[in-house]
């Protein structure tokens, strides 16, 4: 087994970089097809309204316009609605309310950005000009955008079929056990908190090109997707009724996803369907404002959390009640986010014996909400780690000691939590210790004193967390409501001269798969890294796959590669045994050589490959020619990366501006294939976490208008908003996948936000601040300081 991992662990520079740094990437909008038309979508500028009429006549007559489509055209063709991929059942066993999600608004618009009309013209400018000529007569309806308004008695209904705007009312855990523990508790600590609404904002706006070949009947969709096979499945089977063999979905270079490019979006169906109607390619490219009002948003939870403790500060029980905003329609995985991706993580890294959580998911007149980097785990981690510091605040127990006292001990794995998950491995004391040391926790008082002498407030905050990723065991998620499986697929094609093409169902949109996977395959097959090519993002090339999200690509996709390579190696041993006149059992494969054990008789990997394709001396009766294998890998469990993040901030009390002065992450992501890439993934995740904690907020006004719909209004973290981010790893191996890997894509965004807010609250401790919701903007902090009427302690 050890030989497998030789060469792994090197910070190999990325294969994909050459094309990106020289401007030769191939993103969807870089592509144009002969005869291509351009689609502009007329979207609702109303949060909630009845569409009385749509007059398309002027638009249809405008220069260059080829077609103008409304829902009536789609209906006439039997086009289905956008499907949801996960079904949750309420406490009473009833299925969630699943309202229709039309591709183009049908009779009613439910959020600003809801698409109503598709205008298709020879040029993008012509389509834009024509869209201005559409006359839509609306009858405005009262709207709800915020959680509190949507659940208020008598609130306007987003969908008539969802009384109280409730999609589902779900729960998990043992309520009676939790209630009993609260009865006997020495301490009870309660905290209300929100998890702010975010916009993923991958730098590449979404884009889709539909094409149709009337000779063959083949459709092609080129799209900015994290999972082309999932799009083919959803759009083909549910929306456009195109069988798989007639529909090719290509996701070329994709400029970031962070979850927002998982989902099947209406625009993909519109351009594909329109290409079929018009027999010409149709392209739609989102502009940024459009992205703000049509890409799925993230987070937006309001929770109450209560912990029961004994007199020594041991956790007895946790009770959580959450309202989760799902937006106006159900996006692909939305129902899973606040439930099985969030509430199941409420044990965190702690041995809390009893947990009960209830989640009410609601509709509002806002953009649909779905998984955004971390998807549910940042919400539960923020809740838990803020609650931990609040417990420390209320009980006077040191926050580090409180964590240590309640950690799941390293020898308790596998550890069954009270909320369904079984953690396979971890060592939370060790990541905490390493982070405390790296962040010089003990030196903080001196740094605080020095900052105070400069008139600055200084605070330090810690977060210890675990998350569940590497999603996911198909049988388990099926039982929990997933309408799809979550295995992954790899095909390894060894070419006659020994080079290798790897076809993976995962998709790289910044993660560096072309490098990491090549390292993995090269080291396992004992061939040069340069001889391995990774192919992804095309349903016509790759057998199948579920794509990239939930930090699953290496843990699930990489494991599928190992499984396929095992088959290659076994076949290679059979061929070698024939050539070397030995028994298969006596042939071992090591460092690219098939050798008869204990002898110097061997054949190289290249010789075996050539023999497989030129089978002149070959056991042709027993063995097929060729050397190509496919494997489906269905994981036995989730993987559980975890660790400790420590943030140190300075606040200028004159302005309320918070500066992150130090950030230290020590994470356990399992075995690391490419440390450089892992570090980069964690730094990027932390940057998004700091963004959530201090800067980012998607704001709707009371009437449901999206106020923050551009980079002028939505604060993206810029280079001078962020610190250097120190990353370390402490490794325990995943016990159930062949690589021992856990995943690193989301840990940064999951672990960091509470560490930032804990640091801000610490810095503001003299002002009596117990909790602060995200984002901790300068205005919010300045208002607290100003209202206190207090001057700095040092003054």
């Amino acid at each position: 087994m050890n030989a497998i991992f030789e060469g792994i662990g090197a910070s190999v520079r990325r294969k994909e970089d050459l094309r990106f740094i020289s401007g030769r990437g191939h993103y969807t909008d870089d592509m144009n097809r002969t005869g291509q038309l351009h689609c502009i979508l007329k979207r609702s500028d109303r949060p909630h309204a009845i569409i009385r009429s749509i007059d398309t006549s002027a638009a249809k007559a405008a220069p260059g316009v080829v077609a103008v489509f409304t829902h009536a055209d789609l209906d006439a063709d039997g086009v289905g609605g956008v499907p949801c991929g996960w079904q949750i059942h309420s406490k009473d066993g009833s299925p969630m309310v699943e309202p229709a999600h039309p591709v183009l608004a049908t009779g009613r618009v439910r959020h600003v950005g809801d698409p109503i009309v598709a205008v298709i013209a020879e040029t993008r400018q012509q389509a834009k000009d024509a869209a201005e000529l559409l006359v839509i007569d609306f009858e405005d309806l009262p709207a709800v955008a915020h959680i509190a308004d949507a659940i208020a008695p008598g609130a306007p209904l987003v969908h008539d079929a969802a009384p109280g705007n409730t999609c589902f009312d779900w729960h998990i855990g043992d309520k009676a056990m939790v209630d009993a523990a609260f009865e006997r508790a020495a301490h009870r600590v309660k905290l209300d908190l929100t998890n702010n609404r975010l916009v993923p904002n991958a730098m590449e706006p979404r884009c889709a090109i539909g094409d149709y070949d009337p000779m063959s009947g083949d459709f092609t969709l080129i799209t900015t997707s994290q999972n082309p096979h999932v799009i083919r499945l959803l759009m083909g089977a549910f929306v456009l009724h195109i069988p798989e063999h007639r529909l090719r979905v290509v996701a070329p270079d994709v400029g970031g996803g962070f979850g927002s490019k998982i989902y099947h979006y209406a625009e993909e169906a519109i351009v594909t369907w329109a290409a079929g109607k018009l027999h010409r390619p149709v392209k739609w490219t989102s502009d940024r404002t459009e992205a703000f009002m049509s890409d799925a948003h993230g987070r937006d939870h309001a929770s109450t959390a209560e912990m029961a403790l004994d007199a020594e500060g041991n956790f007895l029980a946790l009770r959580v009640s959450t309202v989760a905003n799902l937006g106006a329609y159900l996006s692909t995985f939305a129902p899973a986010v606040p439930t099985y991706l969030s509430a199941t993580l409420l044990a965190g890294v702690y041995r809390t014996p009893a947990i009960y959580a209830e989640v009410r998911a609601i509709f509002t007149n806002t953009v649909p909400i779905d998984a955004y980097r971390g998807a549910g785990r940042p919400e539960s981690t923020f809740l838990l780690e803020r609650l931990l510091d609040t417990i420390a605040h209320d009980t006077g127990i040191d926050r580090i000691e409180l964590r240590r006292r309640n950690f799941i001990p390293a020898d308790a794995f596998p550890y069954q939590t009270p909320v369904a998950l079984q953690y396979d491995s971890g060592d939370y004391q060790s990541t905490l210790n390493a982070a405390l040391k790296a962040a010089d926790w003990d030196g903080f008082p001196a740094r605080k004193a020095e900052a105070n002498s400069r008139g600055k407030l200084r605070g330090i905050g810690v977060s210890t967390y675990v998350e569940a990723c590497g999603i996911a065991p198909s049988k388990l998620v099926g039982a929990l409501g997933a309408r799809a499986a979550l295995y992954e697929v790899a095909q390894i094609r060894v070419h006659p001269t020994g080079s290798v093409s790897v076809f993976t169902g995962t998709h790289s949109h910044g993660q560096g798969h072309e490098t990491t996977f090549a390292q993995l395959v090269a080291s396992q097959l004992g061939i040069p890294y340069e001889n391995v090519d990774i192919v992804h993002g095309d349903t016509n090339k790759i057998p199948f796959g579920m794509g990239t999200y939930g930090s699953r690509s290496l843990a699930v996709g990489g494991s599928a590669m190992v499984k396929a390579m095992d088959k290659i190696i076994l076949k290679g041993r059979k061929i070698a045994a024939h050539l070397l006149e030995a028994a298969v059992e006596d042939v071992v494969f090591e460092n690219g050589q098939f050798t008869v054990a204990g002898t110097d008789r061997s054949k190289s990997f290249g010789e075996i490959a050539l023999t497989a394709y030129v089978p002149h001396n070959y056991p042709i009766e027993e063995l097929e020619p060729g050397l190509e294998e496919t494997a489906f890998y269905d994981p036995a469990n989730f993987t559980f990366p975890g660790g400790c993040h420590i943030c140190e901030v300075e606040i200028d009390p004159e302005t309320g501006v918070t500066t992150v002065v130090n950030f230290t992450a020590v994470d356990d992501v399992g075995r690391v294939i490419n440390p450089m890439i892992v570090e980069g993934q964690i730094q990027g995740g932390v940057a998004q976490g700091i963004g959530q904690a201090l800067l980012e907020n998607a704001v709707y006004d009371q009437q449901g208008q999206l106020v923050s719909a551009s980079f002028m209004d939505y604060t993206m973290p810029r280079a001078d908003d962020l610190p250097n981010i120190s990353v370390g790893t402490e490794t325990t191996l995943c016990t159930h996948n062949p690589l021992g890997v856990k995943g690193c894509g989301e840990v940064g965004a999951i672990g960091s936000p509470p560490s930032v807010i804990n640091a801000v609250v610490d810095a503001l401790s003299d002002y009596g601040v117990r909790h602060l919701d995200m984002p901790a903007t300068a205005h919010k902090i300045w208002s607290i300081i100003n209202a206190s009427g207090m001057k700095m302690a040092a003054e």
Partner: protein, 164 residues
């Protein structure tokens, strides 16, 4: 429709444009230079940065007509004819300063201008401030700052003393 004559990456072009045509549209759609990207519509993200007469400019808020008679360099024009990369491109690759690559062309073009205009030196804070017109969602900027610092040393012929 009026004509624009400009030199792009050493090659002269005369292109018919509409009055409203943006420089980035001319580059991407008329000249096929798709390395220059569009990431926003408010001149905030910097994915579209090119050099006009040696200065970094956001091509999404420059009319093609404004570029008449100028010399434009895009990301495709940085490497030498033999394929040798510009030191900034090398530094981005060496320091893993890119992930999805979408912001990279604009980031590289801005960074080159920043380095060229600051021969006296660039602190980490200078680099962070100098790049605040370019958004990156993937890297957290940590490695971009490292890359630009390293490229400053290469471009100004100074030896890089390991700072970390």
């Amino acid at each position: 429709m009026p004509n624009v004559t400009l030199t792009v990456n050493g090659k002269s072009h005369t292109v018919e444009v509409e009055g409203r045509t943006l420089l980035v549209e001319l580059l991407r759609e008329k000249l096929g230079l798709t390395g220059t990207h569009v990431g926003c519509d408010t001149s905030q993200c910097g994915a579209c940065v090119v050099h006009i007469d040696g200065n970094s400019v956001k091509s999404c808020t420059t009319l093609a007509l404004q570029a008449d008679g100028t010399t434009v360099t895009t990301i495709e024009g940085l490497a030498a004819a033999d394929g040798t990369l510009h030191p900034m491109q090398e530094a981005f690759r060496e320091h893993h300063a890119l992930q999805c690559g979408f912001c990279t062309p604009g980031m590289v073009m801005s960074a080159i201008d920043l380095v060229q205009k600051n021969p006296q030196g660039l602190s980490e804070a200078d680099i962070r401030h100098g790049l605040e017109g370019n958004l990156c969602r993937c890297t957290g900027y940590h490695n971009i700052v490292k890359a630009v610092s390293a490229a400053w040393h290469t471009m100004h012929g100074k030896e890089l003393v390991a700072a970390e």
